[in-house]
C-alpha cells in the first residue's frame, strides 16, 4: 500500500471526526444533566394572554441569552416589562420603540450577589419596599457597571438559618418596580458547636415532619415531588435538580402551625428560599465539610459564601447539589502549618464549574471592605465591576459562556430570583444591557441599560463615561 493513502484516509478521518468539544467532553466528562422536566420552565409564551401597552424592540445585536447561548444579529422584543420573544425575523408591532443595536452586544442585566447602597434603605425598619430610595444616584452608578439586580442583606444569619434580605432591581424612578422578592435568601454560619448542631438537627427534623404532614393532607393534588429527597441529584446544574422540584410546586399554603424556629428552614426546604452558608474565619476544608453537612441534613444544596478552598473539594460540593460564590481576584496565601491544603486558586471557578457546581462571582472588597460591589470609588478606574471579575475567572480557565452565567443566570439562582431575572428568556423580566463589546472585556462599556422594559441608563446622558468615545 502506498504511504499516502493511509495518510489521506487518516486526514479524512481526522477532518470528519475532529471534534474539539467532544474531546473536551471526553476529557472532562460532565455530570449527567438533569432532565428537562426537572428544570424550572420559564412561563409560557405570554403573547396573547395580556394586552401589552408598550412594545420595545432591540434589533440587530448579538444577543447573549444568559443561559450560555449566543444568538447573533437577533431581535429582542419586550412587551411592557417582560421579554416577549427573542430571535430572528420577529414581528415587531406597530408603535413599538425600536433601539438599533446593530454591531453591539445585548446581554442580560448582571446580577450582583453582594452589593450595597444603590437605593437600599439605610435602616432595618419594617418592609424593605417602604424605605427604598428610587432616586439614589448610586443606582445610576450600578447601571453604568451593568448591574440590574442585586441582593441586599440586612442581618446575617447566626447559627440558625435566618437573616433578612431582599432582591432589588435598579429601576431608577420606579418605586414599585424595585423589589423583586423579600427574604429569598437566608444565611447561617459555620462552624457550629455540637450543641448548635443538635439544635439544627432538631429543627430540621421538625420541619420535615411538618412538611410530611402538609403533603399527607394534600396527597392526591399533585404527584409528590421529592423536594426533600436524597441529595444525590448531582448534575451539571446540580442545585436546580432538587430545589427546583420544590419550587415548581405551588406555594404551599401558609406556614400555619409551623413549629417555632423552623420557618426559615421550611422556606428553604420548600424551595422558596436559598440558604447561604458562610464561615466565620477563613473558609477552609473543614468549614466546607461542615457546610456540606448542613446541605446533607437539609437534603438539598446550599450556597457556599466565598469558600476559598472549594477548589480542593469540587466533587463533594457537586454531590450535594450546592452552589458557590467566589472572588476570583481574591488571593490568599497558603498556610504551611495547616494540615489541609489552603490558599486561593484562580482556577477555582473553572474547577468547580467543570465538576458541575453553579458558580457566581463577586468583586473582592473595595475601599469599604468585604466582598461587595463598591459603588464608591471612581467607577471604572478601580475596576470593581462584575464583568471584570468574571473575566478573571476566565483567566483561571473558566469557560467563557459559563463566566457570563456566573454574573447572570447562576447568580440569579444563588439569590433565588432565577424565575424572574438572569436571562433573556420569554416571560422573564426585561432587564438587558446593550454593550459596545464583548461582555467580559475590560474595554466594554454599557451603552444602554433597560430595566423592567424601560430605558434607565444611557452612557452619553450620564456624567460617568460620557467623555469616553471609542
Amino acid at each position: 500500500m502506498r504511504l499516502s493513502t493511509p495518510l489521506v484516509i487518516a486526514a479524512l478521518m481526522l477532518l470528519v471526526t475532529d471534534d474539539v468539544m467532544g474531546q473536551r467532553r471526553r476529557r472532562f466528562p460532565a455530570r449527567p444533566q438533569p432532565t428537562e422536566a426537572a428544570r424550572p420552565a420559564p412561563a409560557p409564551e405570554v403573547a396573547e394572554k395580556k394586552k401589552v401597552e408598550h412594545w420595545l424592540a432591540v434589533t440587530g445585536g448579538d444577543v447573549y441569552l444568559g443561559t450560555g447561548q449566543l444568538v447573533r444579529r437577533a431581535t429582542v422584543l419586550i412587551g411592557d416589562d417582560k421579554i416577549h420573544a427573542v430571535g430572528h425575523d420577529l414581528d415587531i408591532p406597530e408603535g413599538a420603540t425600536v433601539i438599533d443595536a446593530t454591531g453591539k452586544v445585548v446581554a442580560p442585566g448582571f446580577v450582583a450577589v453582594k452589593a450595597a447602597g444603590m437605593g437600599a434603605p439605610r435602616s432595618n425598619d419594617g418592609k424593605v419596599a417602604d424605605s427604598l430610595n428610587p432616586y439614589d444616584p448610586s443606582i445610576k452608578m450600578g447601571l453604568a457597571a451593568g448591574v440590574t439586580s442585586w441582593l441586599m442583606t440586612f442581618d446575617q444569619g447566626t447559627d440558625k438559618p435566618g437573616g433578612k434580605s431582599a432582591v432589588l432591581k435598579l429601576a431608577y424612578g420606579d418605586l414599585d418596580g424595585m423589589v423583586v422578592a423579600e427574604n429569598s435568601v437566608y444565611s447561617m454560619r459555620v462552624p457550629l458547636t455540637p450543641g448548635q448542631w443538635e439544635a439544627l438537627r432538631d429543627n430540621v427534623k421538625k420541619a420535615k415532619e411538618h412538611l410530611e404532614k402538609e403533603r399527607a393532607e394534600r396527597s392526591g393534588d399533585k404527584p409528590a415531588t421529592p423536594a426533600a429527597a436524597t441529595p444525590a441529584s448531582a448534575g451539571g446544574e446540580a442545585g436546580r435538580g432538587s430545589r427546583s422540584g420544590g419550587r415548581a410546586r405551588p406555594g404551599s399554603g401558609g406556614a400555619s402551625g409551623a413549629p417555632k424556629g423552623t420557618e426559615e428552614i421550611l422556606a428553604v426546604m420548600r424551595g422558596e428560599a436559598v440558604l447561604w452558608v458562610t464561615c466565620q474565619r477563613s473558609f477552609d476544608n473543614r468549614a466546607i465539610h461542615q457546610a456540606l453537612d448542613v446541605a446533607a441534613l437539609l437534603g438539598q444544596g446550599v450556597v457556599l459564601d466565598n469558600p476559598i478552598t472549594a477548589w480542593c473539594l469540587p466533587d463533594e460540593i457537586a454531590e450535594t447539589g450546592s452552589m458557590a460564590i467566589l472572588n476570583p481576584r481574591e488571593r490568599s496565601a497558603p498556610d504551611p502549618t495547616h494540615p489541609d491544603t489552603t490558599g486561593s486558586n484562580i482556577a477555582a471557578a473553572a474547577i468547580l464549574s467543570r465538576a458541575g457546581v453553579a458558580v457566581a462571582v463577586t468583586p473582592p472588597g473595595g475601599r469599604f471592605g468585604g466582598a461587595t460591589l463598591g459603588t464608591g470609588g471612581i467607577l471604572g478606574q478601580d475596576l470593581h465591576t462584575l464583568h471584570l471579575d468574571a473575566a478573571y475567572a476566565v483567566r483561571g480557565g473558566l469557560d467563557n459562556r459559563k463566566a457570563l452565567r456566573a454574573i447572570t443566570l447562576d447568580a440569579a439562582k444563588i439569590i433565588g430570583a432565577e424565575a424572574r431575572v438572569g436571562s433573556l428568556e420569554v416571560g422573564k423580566d426585561a432587564d438587558l444591557l446593550i454593550l459596545d463589546g464583548d461582555p467580559l472585556h475590560y474595554r466594554t462599556f454599557v451603552e444602554t441599560a433597560v430595566v423592567n422594559g424601560k430605558v434607565v441608563y444611557e452612557k452619553d446622558k450620564e456624567p460617568f463615561y460620557r467623555h469616553i468615545q471609542r
Binding site: 434603605p121 439605610r122 435602616s123 432595618n124 425598619d125 419594617g126 418592609k127 417602604d130 424605605s131 427604598l132 430610595n133 428610587p134 432616586y135 439614589d136 444616584p137 424612578g173 418605586l175 414599585d176 456624567p463 460617568f464
Partner: protein
C-alpha cells in the same frame, strides 16, 4: 388687649421715640415719592401710599394726604409688602407631644430624612394638636424677625405623618393671645418613609375618608331618648384611636360636633333596632377622634393642608401612602434640595396631582456627582407652579434673604417671581392673601421701605411698617 395695657403701650410708644419716631396708631402715614411694588398690579414708579388705622387706605400717584398725617419722603426708594414667612420653626420650643430626648439642634426640618425608620418620635396621628399651644411669646426671635421685615409669620409643627396644625402669628404680639392670629391655619401632612409611617398616613386618611362619607349621609330626626345607645356602632372602630388623641381638644370643635353626632347615632340606632332595648342611659356624646375629624376637614377642603414632601423619593412613597385621597386646599412644601433622594423639579410629571402653590428653598443646588449649579425654583416657575420661598427660622437666615434672591435671579428666575415669592405667594399659601402680601387698598399696612431696588446689592432696608406702625427705629446709617 385690655385698656390698661393699651394705654401703657401708647404712652411707651410716645416716650420711646427718637428720630422718625413710632407713629401712633391713629395718625395716618403718607409715604411719598416711592416706587411701589404692589405685587398684584403694576409697579408704580412714583406714588404715594396712605396708611391709616393699620391698613392701607390708598395707593396712587395723586393721593390726597389728610391733615396731621406723618409724611415720609421715600426719596425714590422702593416700597414692597412685608415679608411673609409661611413655614417656619421660629420660636417653637419643645411641643408637649413630641419626643424631647433629641437635642434641640437636631430638631430641624430635615430630621426625618436619611433615616429609613420613623426616627425617634413614636409616630402617631396628632392632627388636632396645635403648635401654637406650645409657643412662648416673649422670645427675641419674633422681634428680630420683625425688624428684618418679616411682618407675617407662620410656624409649623414637626414630625412624620400628622404632627399637628400650624399657626399664623403676629410677630409684634407680646402675649400668646396677641401673638396668635390663627391657631388652625393649616394641617401639616409630612411624607415619610418606613412601614410604620406609611401605615400611619394610610390609616389616618382612610379613617378620615370614612368620616367624610358619614358626614355626607343625611341626618335623620332625633328619636326618643330610650332608643339612644350609649355608643354608635361606627365609633367603636374609632375607639382604639383614642390613644392617639391628645389632651387638647380644640374647643372650637365642640360646636360643630353635635349635629354630626346626631346623624351618626341614628345610624347606630337603625342598625341595632333589633337588639333588646337597653335601659335608658344618660346620652353620652359619641366619641369622635378629633384628629380624624381634622383630617376629614382637610379632605373636604374646609382646612388647608401643607404637604411636606422633601424629595422625589418621598413623593413616590407619599403617593403610595395616600392612595386616592385628594386635598382640595393644599400647598406643597419642599424645603431643601436633596441630591441623594431626587429633586422635585426632576419629577415634574409626578408632581402634577399636587399642582398649585409650592414653598421651596431660595437656593441653588447641584445635582449628584456634579458641581454645576441648577435653579430648581426657576424650573418650577417655568412648569407653572406658584413658587414661594421658605425664609428661615432666624434673623440670620432672613437678613441674607435678598442676597439669596439675587442669586436666584442671576441664574434665571424672573425678578417679579422672586419678590412675589417672599410676599404674595406665601400669603396665598396660607390663604391670607386678602390681608397681606400686596400693596393695595384695604390690605394690612405691612410695608418695607428700601433706599433702592431690593434686589440691588447695595440696598438697605430703611424702615419697616407693621400694621401701620414703624418697627424699631428708622435706620439712617
Amino acid at each position: 388687649m385690655t385698656l390698661g395695657t393699651r394705654l401703657t403701650q401708647t404712652v411707651v410708644s410716645w416716650i420711646a421715640v427718637t428720630c422718625g419716631g413710632l407713629a401712633a396708631q391713629e395718625r395716618p402715614v403718607a409715604i411719598q415719592n416711592a416706587r411701589v411694588l404692589t405685587m398684584t398690579g403694576e409697579t408704580l414708579e412714583s406714588a404715594t401710599v396712605l396708611l391709616r388705622g393699620g391698613s392701607i387706605e390708598a395707593v396712587g400717584a395723586d393721593v390726597e394726604i389728610p391733615a396731621g398725617a406723618e409724611i415720609v419722603d421715600a426719596q425714590g426708594g422702593t416700597l414692597m409688602p412685608g415679608l411673609v414667612s409661611a413655614y417656619s420653626r421660629a420660636g417653637v420650643t419643645a411641643p408637649p407631644q413630641q419626643d424631647t430626648s433629641e437635642p434641640a439642634e437636631r430638631r430641624g426640618r430635615f430630621r426625618g430624612r436619611g433615616r429609613g425608620g420613623s426616627g425617634s418620635s413614636a409616630a402617631s396621628n396628632k392632627a388636632a394638636a396645635k403648635v401654637s399651644d406650645a409657643l412662648y411669646a416673649r422670645q427675641d426671635v419674633f422681634g428680630d424677625l420683625l425688624e428684618c421685615g418679616v411682618t407675617t409669620l407662620a410656624v409649623t409643627p414637626e414630625g412624620p405623618g400628622f404632627p399637628g396644625q400650624g399657626a399664623v402669628l403676629d410677630p409684634a404680639g407680646k402675649t400668646r393671645e396677641a401673638l396668635t392670629v390663627d391657631d388652625e391655619a393649616f394641617v401639616l401632612l409630612s411624607a415619610a418613609t418606613g412601614t410604620k409611617n406609611k401605615e400611619l398616613i394610610k390609616d389616618g386618611l382612610e379613617k378620615a375618608q370614612k368620616a367624610v362619607e358619614e358626614r355626607k349621609k343625611p341626618k335623620t330626626p332625633e328619636k326618643p331618648a330610650e332608643e339612644k345607645k350609649p355608643e354608635a356602632k361606627k365609633t367603636e372602630a374609632k375607639a382604639p384611636e383614642a390613644e392617639g388623641k391628645t389632651g387638647e381638644k380644640p374647643p372650637a370643635k365642640e360646636g360643630e360636633k353635635p349635629p354630626v353626632k346626631e346623624g351618626e347615632k341614628k345610624e347606630g340606632d337603625e342598625k341595632s333596632e333589633e337588639k333588646k332595648p337597653q335601659p335608658p342611659q344618660p346620652a353620652r356624646p359619641a366619641k369622635k377622634d378629633p384628629n380624624i375629624e381634622v383630617l376629614a376637614d382637610v379632605l373636604e377642603g374646609k382646612r388647608r393642608a401643607f404637604l411636606l414632601v422633601t424629595s422625589a423619593s418621598d413623593l413616590a412613597h407619599f403617593k403610595g401612602a395616600i392612595g386616592k385621597s385628594e386635598f382640595p386646599k393644599r400647598t406643597l412644601i419642599a424645603p431643601g434640595y436633596s441630591s441623594t433622594n431626587g429633586r422635585l423639579d426632576e419629577v415634574l410629571d409626578q408632581l402634577e396631582p399636587f399642582k398649585g402653590t409650592i414653598l421651596t428653598s431660595p437656593t441653588l443646588t447641584s445635582p449628584a456627582y456634579s458641581e454645576a449649579l441648577v435653579n430648581p425654583a426657576a424650573a418650577l416657575v417655568a412648569a407653572g407652579y406658584d413658587v414661594g420661598f421658605i425664609l428661615g427660622d432666624s434673623k440670620r437666615d432672613v437678613r441674607d434673604l435678598f442676597f439669596k434672591l439675587m442669586e436666584l435671579v442671576r441664574h434665571g428666575l424672573d425678578r417679579d417671581a422672586a419678590l412675589a415669592g417672599v410676599t404674595l405667594v406665601p400669603a396665598k399659601a396660607l390663604g391670607i392673601d386678602d390681608r397681606v402680601g400686596s400693596i393695595a387698598e384695604g390690605k394690612d399696612a405691612d410695608l418695607l421701605l428700601f433706599d433702592r431696588d431690593p434686589l440691588d446689592p447695595a440696598a438697605k432696608l430703611v424702615r419697616v411698617w407693621h400694621k401701620g406702625g414703624t418697627v424699631g427705629k428708622e435706620r439712617t446709617e
